[in-house]
């Protein structure tokens, strides 16, 4: 059934696919995971702070974002960001923003909601006595968070955070709808141009599979490793 397959198309496209497309995808994934984790941690701390109105603000944001499809959020941001930039700069008309930057803002803000739930679970799963012990030693709230709570929550949740990053890696393929030059986007464009969509999509699926599978196996090994230490 592969008799009329044209593998040359894939081979010819390899440099473009990886040096351009996969670099875009990986850059977007890693940066969005980084900013998402930072924002998510802040949201989780706000949510658990008990200082009105921080928990309400963070909770509303997280629940709101989490009930929307990522695609709709992507459309929203690509529509809104130029207007927001206009407001910030005070320009007379919407400012076109670099698509990568817009995608990065979108995914960071979207993923922050998911990462914040992970960090919140991590913080809440710590025994209450840990916080009490920190206070009893005279540490202040920021010190207790920074030295005792967050390092432990982060370490305990690392496998989950990484798994979420693998999901994010796959989710970045959705920028296809904006015809950006991510891995899938470029494969689609080449496939369309050469009339070889079958080959290109099969190859894309294989690459996504190999990367995600290898990454999730690595996370599993990490999980076993940390489980032993604890």
């Amino acid at each position: 059934m592969f008799s009329n397959f044209d593998f040359q198309v894939i081979i010819d496209a390899l440099p473009y696919l990886f040096l351009e497309g996969m670099v875009f995808t990986l850059k977007l994934t890693l940066l969005a995971a980084l900013f998402g984790t930072i924002l998510g941690t802040i949201l989780a701390l706000m949510r658990l702070s008990g200082v009105w109105p921080l928990p309400q603000i963070a909770g509303t944001y997280v629940n709101f974002v989490r009930s929307l499809p990522l695609l709709l959020v992507i459309f929203w941001f690509f529509f809104l960001v130029p207007f927001i930039a206009q407001k910030i700069v005070g320009s007379p008309r919407p400012i076109p923003i670099d698509p990568f930057l817009t995608a990065l803002i979108t995914f960071s803000l979207f993923e922050a909601a998911y990462f914040s739930e992970i960090m919140r679970a991590g913080i809440q799963s710590l025994p209450k006595g840990q916080v009490a012990a920190g206070y009893a030693l005279g540490l202040s709230y920021p010190q207790v968070m920074r030295r005792i709570v967050l390092p432990q929550a982060f370490r305990n949740m690392l496998p989950v955070l990484l798994t979420q990053t693998i999901v994010l890696f796959q989710d970045t393929s959705l920028v296809y709808v904006l015809s950006l030059n991510d891995f899938l986007g470029i494969a689609g464009k080449i496939g369309q141009r050469d009339g070889r969509l079958t080959e290109m999509y099969l190859f894309v699926a294989l690459v996504y599979f190999l990367i995600s599978f290898a990454a999730s196996q690595a996370v599993r090994r990490l999980q076993v490793h940390t489980a032993i230490i604890r």
Partner: protein, 244 residues
């Protein structure tokens, strides 16, 4: 007040597609979203249950097959999976079947529904098998000691409890599934998100169109959460913890 009426008036305009008002366009989109979600949920539940049980069976073959199934569906982006089913599969099948597949009416709708169902089934399978293995080993032993066969111990002892344990995570999988159904727009299904985009491209009232879709998704989310919580409490075993 007038301003508010103004703001909403766009929804009562006849749509450019000539099938009714824009509000009606959005409702049609919602209907497609719901239809895809229902079919996908059934597929996900049935396949997820079968594969999830296989993951816990002693047979190495069952474990390996179910393991491969889960890895396949979990490690390829949903969008790419839909493309595989929609564009690639008909090319790989024997010519006649492939041609027939391409001509099935609403093939993009069914591809989206089943594709989404299979994608979600892998996640359901993981949750279910985790729930089964998390149950005390004594449960399985007790069932076996009573003379139940493997099949009987699953259907009458392990699964009834396991389904209750996975109820909360299954609820969030259902919510994910509804959100993920928007990916169907990539193969040309005018579900809710796409119908908002259609309205946008005819009217340029982007803000209104997206706001309407957003509110509908929010409402759907709240509704499903409430219904699932109702069911969860309804099937709860007295004396076991249920989240408030």
């Amino acid at each position: 007040m007038d301003k508010v009426v103004d703001w909403f008036s766009i929804f009562w305009q006849e749509s450019a597609e000539g099938t009714g008002t824009y509000a009606y366009t959005l409702l049609l989109g919602l209907q497609l979203t719901l239809e895809i979600s229902v079919i996908a949920a059934v597929v996900a539940f049935v396949m997820g249950s079968i594969v999830g049980v296989c993951r816990t069976l002693p047979s190495p073959l069952a474990r390996r097959l179910s393991g491969g199934y889960v890895e396949f569906f979990r490690n390829i982006p949903l969008l790419v999976q839909l493309f595989l089913w929609y564009f690639v599969l008909p090319e790989l099948l024997p010519r006649d079947i492939g041609m027939w597949l391409k001509q099935v009416p609403y093939s993009n709708f069914y591809t989206a529904a089943f594709g989404l169902g299979l994608f979600t089934s892998a996640r359901v399978a993981v949750q279910l098998s985790a729930a089964i293995t998390s149950m005390p080993r004594g449960q399985k032993l007790a069932a076996t000691a009573l003379g139940l066969t493997t099949r009987q111990s699953y259907t009458s002892v392990l699964l009834p409890m396991a389904y209750r344990i996975v109820f909360p995570p299954l609820t969030s999988e259902l919510l994910n599934l509804i959100k993920n159904s928007s990916v169907a727009l990539t193969i040309g299904v005018a579900e809710l998100t796409q119908s908002a985009r259609n309205m946008d491209s005819y009217t340029f009232q982007t803000f209104q169109a997206f706001t309407a879709a957003t509110l509908i998704y929010l409402a759907l989310n709240i509704l499903v959460t409430m219904v699932m919580r109702r069911i969860e409490h309804g099937v709860a075993v007295p004396g076991m913890l249920v989240a408030k």
